[in-house]
């Protein structure tokens, strides 16, 4: 079967189909249900990769659902950026797949729904449709956040639910404002009307409401208070996927909104402000925290703040830096959480843990060096691109953001090296050593290998990303692909 543009719906339709049937399969055998779900996830990754060549030839694959052309119907828009995140999500969900556990079929069902919702989030080219997929992703997260079946997990998940529901209401209000002002929900159509109908206080309010709504998942200040709690209380594989991949999907939505609808200096300034506060607050809180899970959760807030700062810089340089930061964090943070899973509790209690598991400690050092930004690791290039874009764009706001990020990097280095020092310290006598089994460490090692491979091939990677970013930042190209006849 050859794939056509209409097959871009499969990363959403296939997991939904299997998820609906999974409870039935699970009654026969939990193992069979798990196998089926994992094969589906693999199939989604393969389909996204097979669609890749066609997407890079024509710029993007566009499919109008039900055959109703935009702006009347819903369109899916699969450019390289969207397909890349679909692949990343599917691979992440496979790498941290649920094991044999209590209620494994239900967890696996939520896993598939997370795949369907997340894929729809980046593929959809319709504002309300994006909101529907955002809700699927959010509700799946409520369940998965509580899936450790601990009191802390239930509490964290409930508080996340309340915040997220408020955020969703805000996002919906923003979407309603856009619809009322412009009369359409199609992003391409909106991008042509934005200059006329989405300017001034109306446009800015709609943008602020949507950023605060989608920002709950994108861990943006000030709607990120759920992050440390949920990331600590949820099972580590859930945390790894949420922090590593799902948060970026919401950020991609915000990027689309910015590029297509809101190239307004006030909107960009608002995102820059939220991003810069996120970076500063995240790293300071990470410095104060005494537990690896919380440290990494706060560091994740800071990294998403970096992405927000990057996306707020107009032009493709900012988009490029944002995507680079996102990809780097996508590899590094799940690996960090793999390590945090074994090294639970007080950081001070980890004295000497590095000596008993040298491989894990080596991985920690590698990841730390990259996230701080030591050349030649990929994290350095990502931060360099961000600084270059911000300094080229100039302006007091951008330069202040650069200063904040530099200061935050020093703080980041301080707390990560403090942990390294503790890991290589002398363990007090008589305490049982914490060892990783190879199976536990394997996903982390794999991600570490990806990081090293990216370091070696940084030049071709940079070229590819530059082309992708230039295309993603081009609102006119987006509109012309979705609305070929013009409007």
């Amino acid at each position: 079967m050859t794939l056509t543009a209409h097959h871009v719906v499969l990363p959403v339709a296939l997991p939904l189909l299997v998820a609906f049937l999974l409870p039935l399969v699970g009654r026969l055998s939990d193992g069979l249900a798990r196998l089926l779900a994992q094969l589906t996830t693999l199939a989604v990754a393969v389909i996204a990769l097979l669609l890749w060549p066609a997407a890079s030839d024509g710029g993007a694959l566009v499919s109008a659902m039900g055959g109703f052309a935009a702006p009347i119907g819903i369109v899916f828009y699969a450019d390289k950026l969207a397909l890349m995140f679909v692949v990343a999500l599917a691979v992440g969900l496979l790498l941290f797949r649920p094991r044999r556990e209590h209620d494994s079929t239900k967890v696996q069902t939520l896993w598939l729904l997370l795949l369907a919702g997340g894929s729809g989030l980046v593929l959809s080219g319709d504002l309300f449709n994006i909101f529907v997929f955002y809700e699927i992703t959010a509700v799946a997260t409520y369940g998965l956040g509580a899936s450790a079946h601990t009191g802390a997990g239930y509490g964290a998940s409930l508080r996340y639910l309340l915040l997220s529901a408020l955020g969703s209401a805000f996002a919906l209000l923003g979407i309603a404002l856009v619809y009322a002002a412009a009369g359409t929900l199609n992003l391409a159509d909106l991008s042509q009307l934005a200059g006329e109908r989405l300017t001034g206080p109306m446009g800015l309010t709609a943008f602020v409401l949507m950023v605060l709504g989608f920002g709950v998942k994108a861990e943006l200040f000030p709607v990120n208070t759920w992050v440390p709690e949920v990331y600590t209380a949820a099972p580590t594989r859930v945390t790894a996927v949420l922090a590593g991949v799902v948060s970026k999907l919401a950020m991609v939505v915000i990027l689309r909104l910015l590029v297509l609808l809101f190239q307004d200096p006030a909107a960009l300034g608002f995102l820059l402000l939220l991003g810069a506060i996120g970076v500063a607050a995240g790293e300071l809180a990470a410095f104060r925290s005494r537990d690896l899970h919380r440290t990494f959760a706060y560091s994740s807030i800071a990294q998403l703040g970096l992405m927000a700062v990057a996306f707020s810089i107009p032009g493709h340089a900012g988009v490029l830096a944002g995507i680079a930061v996102a990809l780097h964090h996508l590899v590094v943070k799940p690996a960090f959480f793999v390590l945090a899973d074994r090294w639970r509790g007080e950081i001070a209690g980890l004295t000497g843990a590095g000596r008993t598991s040298p491989l894990a400690a080596g991985l920690f050092v590698l990841l730390s060096l990259s996230i701080i930004g030591i050349p030649p690791l990929p994290g350095f290039w990502a931060k360099l691109m961000l600084f270059k874009a911000a300094i080229d764009a100039g302006g007091a706001g951008n330069l202040t953001a650069v200063a904040i990020i530099l200061a935050a990097t020093v703080i980041e280095a301080a707390y990560l090296f403090r942990v390294v020092g503790i890991l290589y310290g002398t363990a007090p006598a008589g305490r049982p050593p914490l060892r990783f089994t190879l199976g536990e460490l394997a996903p982390g090692l794999l991600l570490g290998a990806v990081l090293i491979a990216a370091t070696v091939s940084v030049a071709p990677l940079g070229d590819g990303l530059t082309a992708m970013a230039a295309d993603s930042a081009d609102a006119a190209a987006y509109a012309s692909r979705v609305l070929p006849g013009g409007n």
Binding site: G66, G73, I136, L173
Partner: protein, 238 residues
Amino acid sequence: MKGNARAFASALFLIGLGLMLVTLFEALPFGGAPMQVGQAIAGRALEDTGATNIVSAVLLAYRGLDTLGEVAILFVAATAAGLVLGGAGRAEAQGTPAGFILRAAAALLFPFLLVLGAYIVIHGHLTPGGGFQGGAILAAAFFVPLLAHPASPVNHGVATVVEAFAGAVFVVIGLAGLVGGGAFLVPLLGAGTPGDLFSAGSLPLLYLAIGLKVGSELAGLMARIAAAGDPARQGGKA
């Protein structure tokens, strides 16, 4: 003291939000010129889909993917609730039977609710109503007897089978469009004569799938919550 400050800040925030929205909505034209997509759909829906209920045409044809998404949201919420309530759902449902009026009314209501629910689902493409509304009534048909006889065992098996296949049918109808070389959820089977029971192509089939899925899901969810609530009530008495 701290609580007061927080309440005051919240009130201030809400007043500000309200004023902002009032100002913005004042400036918005209502139902006027910019509603281009809505007006375009109102003009062509009958011709495109053959459904006399334009709301259904929008829900199932123009925005069918949103509807599939909403069905999925209900499903994911039910799954997440099942995960959190966990083993409690398996506890033996117990409780005192309800009074005579509720028991008699429940027995009387059951067939009527069933017929009404089915009617609203099946006529969704012709008259106001449809899968979500009819499905909720179908769920009520099965839940009212449970209120009357809390001790009666709930058979989750049938509900699970109906729910799974109904959901799958929706996606499969959508995928059938792909097999034909078209897009996902392309209306199939021709529009037919508007107003006939068998018209509007595959839209009534989609509504049937939604009705069955929503009905079985809601009924299952309510039964699970009732079962989960029971042991807690017993614990309170003891």
